[in-house]
Symmetry: C2
Subunit: 208 residues, 2 copies
DNA sequence: GGGATCATGTAACAGGTTACATGATTCA
DNA sequence: TGAATCATGTAACCTGTTACATGATCCC
């Protein structure tokens, strides 16, 4: 007897992935609507976001369908003479407020800075410099809390004196890597906020 | 719009993922053989590698099958009285040399340090301290090259003077984040090699 | 008697990568 | 005449996550 599984969507609870939000972002930047082929250019080699996220046409069209299902965009078929007809997607009010919410929210983990945070930064800067400043400030606070927490954990580990045993040594290495990466992110965020050159930020790292 | 296509990739056998190598590593550490249930303990909460990689039983058994298909382990059914019979996997000679090869190879990208490199470090230290020293040295060299390359790119960007335009500013931010993260990894690797405390390494960052 | 432990898996779902299908039109 | 552009997808194949199936024995 096969039991049907409780169809509560685990995936729907999580928000859509950063790629979907990037699509939403480009639609808003381009006056609120656009079609797949046109959007693909923003992810092709040479485009600024291409250094951060890769998005093949297949996935692009997939995300557009998902955005439509979520009610953040509305599709309309546009027939052209001498050209294949296209699906034009327009951002809805829900889509706009979702993008705004997402752009203001910092990422929780340091490793997400490389992808998700950079995408947020790109659109926040293009759409609203105040929002960008707020995003950077909140991300800074999140990273600073993480640095405190990691420092405390590292101190605890050293107080336990297990750092000389192999497993303790490894645990210490893991924490110290995380700490180093998060501190680097923190000083990079300071740089973003002030526009100061790189060397200044590196020097500042020694003081924190 | 041109889409660059790489037709060679199809049949090219990618290596097994870091999780599979971690399993191989534990088998070697535990005298060359073991079974799934036992291996699962090394990935359960509280185990040292659990801070780095998460591996549910389902994936663990999946990887064991793949290791067997690759010829790196050989399975044998062991019947026990009073206990369910188990599949005991023994590492083959091919498996041993593959592990050794993998453990000596540095990771190419900075983001792989958080997962793949830490796993390599864990097993290299447990199996052969000379191998660990070599791994760290080679990873250091790889990161140092990356730092040079990223610095050069950043300098180029600034020489072009596009850093004031929105897209140029973004490209600069992306590069400077990568540079900061790779520099942090580099000084962490120095720490690993010397065993110096964290503060020393942070100070040293200002000099490089 | 009931939960924890031993032991190995499968099913369904989620998400991404790579290659290719389709077919018109425009341009060198 | 054939390559590139316009435009939207599908198919096959990976990896990974979560939950559950199965059934014994050990410990309280």
């Amino acid at each position: 007897m096969r039991r049907t599984r409780d169809p509560i969507r685990r995936g729907a609870q999580r928000g859509l992935p950063p790629a979907a939000h990037a699509i939403l972002g480009f639609l808003v930047v381009e006056h609120g609507s656009g079609h797949g082929y046109d959007l693909a250019r923003h992810f092709a080699a040479g485009a600024p976001l291409a250094q951060v996220i890769r998005l093949e046409p297949g996935m692009l069209y997939h995300h557009l369908k998902r955005l439509e299902r979520a009610g953040w965009v509305a599709a309309d078929r546009e027939v052209q003479s001498h050209r294949p007809s296209r699906r034009v997607y327009a951002v809805t009010d829900d889509g706009r407020s979702e993008l705004r919410r997402w752009l203001g929210e910092p990422v929780v983990q340091t490793r997400e800075i490389r992808l998700t945070f950079l995408i947020k930064l790109y659109f926040a800067r293009r759409l609203d410099s105040g929002l960008a400043a707020r995003l950077i400030a909140r991300q800074r606070a999140t990273c600073a809390r993480l640095v405190s927490s990691l420092s405390a954990q590292l101190t605890d580990l050293e107080r336990q004196g297990t750092a000389t045993e192999p497993d303790g040594q490894f645990a210490r290495s893991v924490l110290s890597l995380r700490l180093a990466q998060t501190r680097a992110a923190l000083s990079w965020l300071d740089e973003l906020a002030t526009g100061a050159p790189d060397d200044t930020a590196v020097t500042r790292l020694g003081q924190c």
